[in-house]
């Protein structure tokens, strides 16, 4: 009797293992981000180990930020702490796989934090593929000032995310945006910057002048935006570190707006209005080198460079309605790329170079959409009363945008959505917000 039982157990044991392997992806722990419906991958991030008492306050918080980053993608589902069977007591020992299998955790992230006396902390982590019963990739360690603990948590989450999805990360990034207050007919606006998840907000201007549509420089150190502080719309450059700002040195009284950096961080692309007509110009951010790129009686605005700087996408109503066009960065014959029903605007080129996101208006509804850079495969990701102004996450897989609600009490807020159209979520801001622009991944 016992023998049969033992044999059965053994068979079950092996059978179960084989079944598990069969259920496994053909390879290590992996999520393929496709357009199909997927089941979020269950994971656990136990509280990190504090290697000394001073690290205690960071150990839990860092684990929580990591878990929130992963769960916030919609691709991972966090298993709550109270479901855990075993606890992590040592960073160096391997985990008790059976305890994690029992609660269906497929990935476990363990870590440890130590705080040196000099205001620096060190964070290290390991990721385990529970059903393969093996560590996934190498352990890593990050060091930095204690004040940058959230960045370290985001870097851990980026590493975990990358290993499991094969995509680049995006959590260690900032978003510059316009913080809004006041009634709809007398809005007060000010520039602000925050972590992508809403933490660490810093205001860059006061609300004494209308500010609009900021954009980061390629390394995130400066912001270009449109400001009314001189009385009329003009392009301004602001240094994020010093918060010093100055008007772009355009030798004209004309209105300028819609500024963007080129990938070299020196070139600025913008619209300039003369005689009521808006055309695209380029110049050096430090002055000089002004180049006129379009000369048509139609509206040309909302441009964006391709990541390699060789092309520009922009909106123009030269055909009679607002549509998207691509032209060489030096100017020259534009090619229209939008052809669906409705109006298209605010094109932004993905950092991966493969897609252009845009705002589309049709039948009184607004949509955020994406299309290939030749205009093919247009897909709409959202629909509402007023969605506009998409910006790409550094990995080209998530888009943030402004959503406004209707009516006298209408307020704008920031939302993010996956490029599959899934996982639409509000980005937490203190009050109303608009015109987000995502930084590159921070170094």
């Amino acid at each position: 009797m016992r023998l049969i039982k033992a044999l059965t157990l053994a068979v079950l044991c092996c059978g179960a293992a084989q079944t598990t392997v069969a259920q496994e992806r053909s390879g290590p722990l992996r999520i393929e981000i496709t357009e199909g419906v997927i089941e979020p991958l269950p994971f656990a991030v136990p509280t990190f180990i504090a290697e000394n008492p001073a690290a205690q306050e960071y150990a839990q918080s860092i684990a929580q930020v990591i878990a929130a980053d992963l769960a916030g993608t919609g691709l991972f589902r966090e298993i709550p702490r109270d479901a855990f069977i075993s606890t992590i007591t040592s960073f160096d020992s391997t985990i008790q796989y059976s305890d994690w299998k029992a609660i269906n955790a497929q990935a476990v992230v363990t870590g440890a934090v130590s705080a040196a006396g000099d205001g620096r902390i060190t964070v290290k982590f390991r990721v385990f593929d529970v059903f393969a019963e093996a560590q996934l990739g190498d352990g890593l360690q990050f060091g930095g000032s204690a004040g940058s603990w959230r960045r370290m948590a985001h870097k851990v989450a980026d590493a975990v995310y990358s290993r499991i999805t094969g995509e680049g990360g995006y959590f260690d990034s900032r978003v510059v945006f316009v913080s809004e207050s006041g009634p709809k007919d007398n809005r007060l606006k000010r520039l602000a910057v925050m972590d992508y998840d809403g933490a660490n907000v810093q205001y860059l201007t006061d609300n004494s002048a209308i500010v609009l549509a900021p954009r980061f420089s390629p390394n995130g150190d400066r912001v270009l935006y449109t400001s009314y502080e001189t009385g009329s719309p003009r392009v301004f450059v602001l240094d994020v570190g010093t918060v010093q700002r100055r008007a772009l040195d355009v030798p004209t009284e004309s209105m300028t707006f819609a500024p963007r950096f080129g990938p070299d961080g020196q070139k600025v692309l913008f619209s300039l209005t003369e005689g009521g007509n808006s055309d695209l110009y380029a110049m050096n951010v430090n002055g000089g080198g002004i180049q006129r790129l379009t000369s048509t009686p139609s509206i040309e605005t909302a441009p964006d460079f391709s990541p390699d700087g060789s092309q520009i996408v922009f909106e123009s109503d030269r055909s009679g309605t607002q549509q998207l066009y691509v032209m060489p960065a030096s100017g020259g014959e534009p090619t229209r790329i939008s052809f669906g029903q409705g109006r298209y605007g605010t094109p932004v080129w993905s950092p991966r170079g493969d897609l252009i996101a845009f705002t589309k208006q049709n039948n009184g509804r607004f949509h955020i959409g994406v299309m290939r850079t030749d205009g093919s495969e247009e897909r709409l990701l959202t629909a509402s009363f007023l969605d506009e102004g998409p910006t790409w996450a550094p990995n080209g897989r998530v888009i943030m945008f402004t959503r406004g609600t209707q009516g006298a009490g209408g307020e704008p807020a920031l939302y993010s959505v996956d490029i599959s159209g899934r996982n639409l979520r509000r980005v937490p801001t203190d009050g109303s917000a608009s015109d987000p622009a995502w930084s590159p991944l921070l170094k």
Binding site: D185, N186, S227, I299, G407, D435
Partner: protein, 171 residues
């Protein structure tokens, strides 16, 4: 007597300049300040054809536009013809023409559309004999709606160009 009335006129002009501040949305903040100690209803109220109040209320300081358009309607042309005449008769005034759009559009496109509307008005005034050196344009895009409901009754009021007059030179 001559000196006395000249003095009154000068003081009045200064007072009116405070009333009709061309940067009346400030540099983007709240509405224009009225620092004048004068009651403009007594001197040069809406019944006085040479007063800014007459321009604003009797002639009309604004024209409206169709969705996505900057062309002037017949009604607009009538109003602007009278605006031009007033400006020609009151040469101590200059004008800042504001172009606005409703919320049914993207932010930067609406800035460009507002600029187009302001320019349409300016070109018409120039065609009616007003010197371009007395005129300036600005766009507010969709940033400064007058009416804040989200339907056509409000949108139509927001698709506008407003001629804001000021005594003295343009700032």
């Amino acid at each position: 007597m001559k000196l006395y009335s000249k003095a009154i006129l000068m003081v009045l002009a200064m007072g009116l300049a405070a009333c009709t501040n061309p940067g009346r949305f400030g540099a983007g903040g709240a509405g224009g300040a009225d620092g004048s100690g004068f009651n403009s209803a007594n001197l040069g109220g809406a019944n006085d054809p040479s007063s800014p109040a007459y321009f604003q209320q009797t002639i009309g300081d604004r024209v409206l536009f169709a969705v996505d358009q900057s062309t002037l309607s017949p009604e607009a042309t009538q109003i602007l013809t009278q605006q031009a005449r007033w400006l020609s008769n009151n040469t101590e005034f200059t004008a800042l023409i504001e172009g606005h759009a409703d919320e049914q559009g993207t932010r930067e496109y609406n800035l460009a559309l507002g600029a187009r509307r302001a320019n349409s008005v300016m070109e018409y005034l120039v065609s009616q004999g007003v010197s371009p050196s007395r005129l300036k344009t600005i766009t507010y895009g969709k940033e400064r709606p007058l009416a804040i409901c989200s339907d056509e009754a409000c949108y139509s009021q927001n698709r506008r160009a407003v001629t804001v007059i000021a005594a003295g030179g343009l700032s």
